[in-house]
């Protein structure tokens, strides 16, 4: 992947729709390109040691998920399961209704993604392209809201849903996505739209188009990279969300995968192979999406410089 670029600094008004590949032949890279062979060797050694440290927990996860309880509690530990206990996976996943949790999570995903895509593109378009009184004030408030600790709004929002009878429904997790789709997504999408040439809008207006025409004919067709970025981030956020479900969902019928996994630990406090098998299963789709959408991931992070 050599698209890793776009500076944080220049993202406000770049001329091109997306980070340019050739930027990765960067100044810093170029100036350090002829070091001593020794430092080269040291560099590789350091990078490889670092990689091993990064990957070791994954290896530990997988190996633990494939062991029997007798082998996992052996000291000193063994790295290769013998035999490979593949049955841990189906057994762990059926011992608790993970199928239902999956369906719940999937339903929330679909509803949230639809809301985020639809309303963030519309909001970003109006902030990037249309002039109306109070626009800058609203945009600043929106951006400012990203700095607000979630703890401040958490309690009143919970109280509101409780009053509205929304506890133990998916509404508290879905409805906010339909109201702008989140400040971060609006910001990211707007950053992207600022790079689309305005001449295209002008042309549409000349032909008697409305802003809706511009949005539909110009902005949406050109915005698919940004929509993919937002889609991936949103999917992952929903998949990983833990605090939302523990606050709003108490009936096991409504559990999401993340919540299911958390309570699974309580039920199977000592069954580490099962717990590791369930954890791997929840991790797998995210890794898959990451490998498919890797390019967009990195563009998304560098396009905004945000996402901590």
């Amino acid at each position: 992947m050599n698209q890793v670029t776009s500076s944080v600094n220049s993202s406000e008004t770049p001329q091109h729709p997306l980070p340019q590949p050739e930027r990765s032949r960067s100044p810093a890279t170029a100036t350090h390109s002829k070091p001593f062979p020794l430092s080269r060797v040291v560099l590789y050694i350091v990078l490889i040691i670092g990689s091993v440290l990064m990957l070791l927990p994954f290896a530990w996860l997988i190996r633990s998920s494939l062991m029997g309880t007798s082998q996992i509690f052996v000291f000193p530990p063994e790295w290769i399961p013998s035999p490979f206990q593949w049955s841990n996976y189906p057994e762990a996943l059926t011992s608790v209704p993970f199928g239902r949790y999956f369906m719940n999570t999937f339903m929330i995903e679909v509803c949230v993604l639809a809301g985020v895509m639809l309303t963030s593109i519309v909001s970003a378009f109006t902030f990037a392209r249309l002039r109306w009184p109070g626009r800058n004030l609203i945009f600043s408030l929106l951006i400012g809201s990203m700095m607000l600790p979630y703890a401040v709004t958490l309690i009143p929002t919970f109280v509101m849903w409780r009053e509205l009878g929304g506890l133990n429904t998916f509404l508290p997790l879905i409805v906010p996505a339909w109201f702008g789709g989140g400040a971060f997504n609006i910001f990211l999408m707007r950053q992207f739209m600022l790079t689309v040439p305005r001449d295209l809008d002008e042309a549409a207006y000349m032909d008697g188009g409305t802003p809706l025409t511009v949005l539909w004919r110009v902005i949406i067709p050109l915005s698919s990279p940004a929509l993919i970025v937002i889609g991936i981030f949103t999917f992952i956020d929903v998949w990983n969300d833990f605090l939302g479900p523990i606050i709003y969902l108490s009936d096991e019928k409504h559990f999401t995968l993340a919540l299911g996994l958390a309570t699974f630990r309580g039920l199977n406090n000592t069954n580490w192979p099962y717990l590791m098998a369930a954890s791997s299963t929840i991790l797998a789709p995210i890794v898959l999406i990451f490998f498919i959408g890797q390019r967009y991931f990195i563009e998304g992070i560098t396009l905004t410089g945000i996402k901590g």
Partner: protein, 301 residues
């Protein structure tokens, strides 16, 4: 660019407001409304199912003068932030420098270093819980393997927070990528000028790379500080705040107060104190930033 005529402007305004409506409503319902409500709650002694009485600033006074759990959770959170933010930033910066070299398999290395960041937080906590296991966990096995004594990790009040700091350092991929983007935008002409003046690698690093990177360092510092002050999952899933309240993160204490003790008023006051602390810290960093953050050309988005 020509500005459209007034009919056009009216149309733009109407469509503009219509398109902004979801975001404006969202801001009012899910941000501004809750902020106001939260502040009002914080002035009451409301518990779910109980009477709501207006008690002025009593919650704040109790928290700041009598509540030992508050000071403990503030201490724990500060300790965690002071450990994990500098360590995370330094590690991320070093990794970004390494990944900014011309090496074979660069994209593979970048992928590997980013991978931990995408692990769902709940799976992450389960995995580390098992790695921290004092008897059969990965970490003690490794220590044992090289002849070092093991540790009780999160199960001992002295090592619990350092353990969680270590765990947080595993997932610094986003910070690495932002640093990497920053490194790649350091102006080439500065390096060339340094070379002409006979500057060596260290000169270039300390006089060009570091100063050019200060805006990125600043940005990452603020963002990681804000997020570490809101740590929650580790305490909830891994340690339940223990042992002996040594991992009682602030948001975990707040959550417990609000959702298990249902003390809505008191918890709201706790939330406002957190807001205030984060704001003061951010303002402090911003005010010192003029001394150490260099912007080329003086402006920045």
């Amino acid at each position: 660019m020509k500005r459209p005529k007034s009919g056009m402007m009216r149309m733009e305004r109407n469509w503009g407001l219509l398109f902004a409506l979801p975001a404006i409503l969202g801001l009012m319902i899910f941000t501004i409304g809750p902020i106001v409500a939260s502040f009002v709650f914080s002035l009451t002694n409301w518990t779910i199912g109980g009477q709501m009485t207006f008690i002025g600033l009593d919650n704040y006074r109790t928290i700041l003068t009598e509540d030992a759990t508050f000071s403990q959770s503030m201490f724990v959170t500060t300790y965690y932030a002071l450990g994990s933010v500098p360590l995370g930033l330094a590690a991320a910066f070093i990794i970004a420098l390494l990944l900014n070299q011309k090496v074979r398999g660069l994209s593979v290395f970048r992928t590997i270093y980013y991978l931990p960041t995408i692990v769902p937080s709940i799976a992450n906590t389960m995995l580390w819980l098992w790695m921290f296991n004092p008897d059969f966990g990965l970490l003690n096995s490794l220590l044992e393997g090289v002849g070092l004594p093991g540790s009780k990790w999160i199960y001992d009040e002295n090592t619990a927070i350092p353990s969680l700091i270590m765990m947080s350092t595993w997932g610094i991929g986003n910070t690495v990528i932002i640093f990497l983007a920053g490194l790649q935008s350091v102006p080439t002409h500065l390096y060339e000028a340094a070379e002409v003046d006979g500057g060596n690698r260290w000169h270039k690093f300390f006089h060009i790379t570091i100063p050019s990177m200060t805006p990125t360092i600043f940005f990452n510092l603020v963002m990681s500080l804000i997020s570490t002050f809101q740590a929650f999952n580790q305490a909830y899933v891994m340690t339940n705040g223990g042992p002996n309240n040594s991992t009682l993160f602030y948001v975990f204490y707040l959550w417990r107060t609000a959702f298990t003790e249902t003390k809505i008023g008191y918890a709201s006051a706790l939330a406002w104190i957190l807001f205030f602390v984060i704001m003061v810290l951010t303002v402090l960093i911003f005010s010192t930033s003029k001394k150490w953050v260099h912007y080329e050309g003086g402006e920045r988005s």
